[in-house]
């Protein structure tokens, strides 16, 4: 117990790193995933296919392999060598998560009645304007729960970064448990609680959005 409390600052800073990783990767994944989804339903065949290949490749690759690539394979051939850990973590997590965001969103886009996009085209909106003003806002509303799941998975996936020496929550915890075998259970519980709090915040946010948007429809 002592160890956890006396190292409270360290625990906090470790969690702060987790939150940073989750937050930055989450935002980046939402942006990249949205772009990919727009490409997948867009009028340009080359982009449609490229986005499709990206999603298939990424979804069929275990997260651990993605991390091995970004942290070991790519630096071995001379790229990303001076990149800070946090950024490399963000790259790996974003690369991975954006494919899932894309697919969740694509399901949402398909759930928007075709007539919505047609009406938008009929008043002269371009494909981009149609996406940003009519289709995507409705698609997002339809996929809040699955998108929240993707973001929760992302939060938990930040722990994989620990294996690569990134000073984030799970890595910190392993340090503690090694030194204090007695308090192992308590320390595990403390860190699990930390993850639960972050995940609950995401769920609550999603729930709030869902309720607000339900009222607006």
């Amino acid at each position: 117990m002592d160890d956890v409390t006396s190292n409270f600052d360290l625990v906090l800073s470790a969690f702060w790193l987790t939150i940073q990783l989750a937050l930055i990767s989450g935002l980046a994944s939402l942006v990249l995933g949205t772009l990919l989804a727009a490409m997948r339903v867009g009028p340009v065949a080359v982009l449609r296919r490229a986005a499709g290949v990206y999603v298939n490749v990424v979804r069929n690759t275990p997260l651990l392999i993605v991390f091995l690539f970004v942290f070991i394979a790519i630096p071995n051939v001379g790229y990303l060598t001076d990149t800070p850990f946090l950024l490399k973590g963000v790259i790996a997590l974003t690369f991975y998560t954006s494919a899932f965001v894309c697919e969740a969103l694509r399901a949402g886009i398909n759930s928007v009645p075709l007539g919505q996009a047609e009406a938008a085209r009929a008043i002269g909106l371009t494909f981009g304007q149609n996406m940003t003003n009519v289709v995507l806002p409705q698609a997002f509303r339809a996929v809040v729960p699955p998108l929240a799941s993707v973001l929760i998975a992302l939060t938990k996936n930040t722990s994989v970064a620990a294996a690569f020496g990134l000073l984030e929550a799970t890595a910190r915890m392993r340090g503690f448990t090694n030194n204090n075998a007695d308090d192992r259970l308590l320390i595990f519980a403390t860190f699990a609680l930390g993850y639960i709090i972050v995940v609950e915040l995401i769920s609550l946010g999603a729930f709030g959005l869902e309720r607000r948007w339900k009222a607006a429809r």
């Binding site: 009406a119 938008a120 429809r217």
Partner: protein, 264 residues
């Protein structure tokens, strides 16, 4: 800005009405859905200010014809021109063309996540670059005209079908279109709401709007249309004035069709 545009459109209309150049011209238009030949050598020329009612059995290609005019459906061959210009194939030019052609759908298709007011102002703001305050003002005028101004802050789902369809008409009018296409605008409505939508359309016709209206509402055809186009199996089988068409259909197909809808 919207006002200035509207005046130019009106002047255009007067000038072109004088020269009599047709506004929409379809020549030898063909379209297939797979093996199905939905549009067969369609020739149709629509003058400025003309109201054309398209009528015919279900599946005869009326919607496809309507949608081809603003290129929601592409055609296989033939040509369609608006104001002398061939329809652009894609991109910004196509979007600009569509802004000139108003479309009203059977299922209204109001933007579900936007208020009534936002539904009407989206096009002017995004496509025409009108300032929000100006767009709002003009939208309220249009909503007033179709009798929905007091519901401007509601969402589409909170309105009845007839009200939604009137908003859809206002949304199309907000773009100051050269021509309005209506694809069975009252077919999804309960009987008591049909009239409120038709009244708006009749008023529009009286004000000189060029209109292509797919409908089985004979009352509308008789009061507002200059011409009835009867389609069967993807081709125009017969064209005439409403009076002649309804009292003296020439083709067996039209006689048969009218016999069926008159019985109901």
């Amino acid at each position: 800005m919207a006002r200035v545009r509207r005046m130019t459109v009106q002047q255009d209309r007067e000038i072109n009405a004088a020269t009599g150049q047709p506004l929409v011209v379809l020549e030898k238009v063909n379209k297939h859905f797979g093996a199905l030949h939905v549009l067969q050598d369609i020739d149709l020329s629509i003058k400025r200010g003309e109201v054309v009612v398209v009528i015919g059995p279900s599946g005869s290609g009326k919607s496809t014809l309507c949608r081809a005019i603003n290129r929601l459906e592409t055609i296989d061959d033939g040509s369609i021109t608006l104001d002398g210009q061939p329809l652009p194939a894609e991109g910004k030019a196509l979007a600009n063309l569509r802004a000139e052609v108003g479309m009203v759908f059977q299922s209204f298709n109001l933007f579900a996540h936007k208020t009534i007011l936002e539904n009407v102002t989206l096009g002017p703001i995004k496509v025409r670059g009108v300032k929000k305050a100006d767009a709002d003002k003009r939208a309220m005028e249009l909503l007033e005209r179709v009798g929905i101004a007091h519901q401007a802050q509601k969402y589409p789902a909170q309105l009845s079908g007839g009200q939604q369809q009137r908003v859809a008409i206002a949304r199309a009018l907000a773009m100051d279109p050269k021509v309005m296409l209506f694809d069975e605008p009252t077919s999804a409505l309960d009987p008591e709401m049909i009239k409120e939508v038709l009244d708006v359309m009749v008023e529009l016709a009286e004000q000189g709007m060029t209109m292509v209206v797919v409908t089985h509402e004979m009352g509308f055809a008789r009061t507002a249309a200059h011409r009835v186009v009867f389609m069967a199996d993807g081709a125009i089988a017969e064209e005439n004035t409403p009076h002649e068409f309804f009292t003296n259909p020439r083709t067996a197909r039209a006689q048969d069709f009218l016999g069926k809808i008159l019985k109901h």
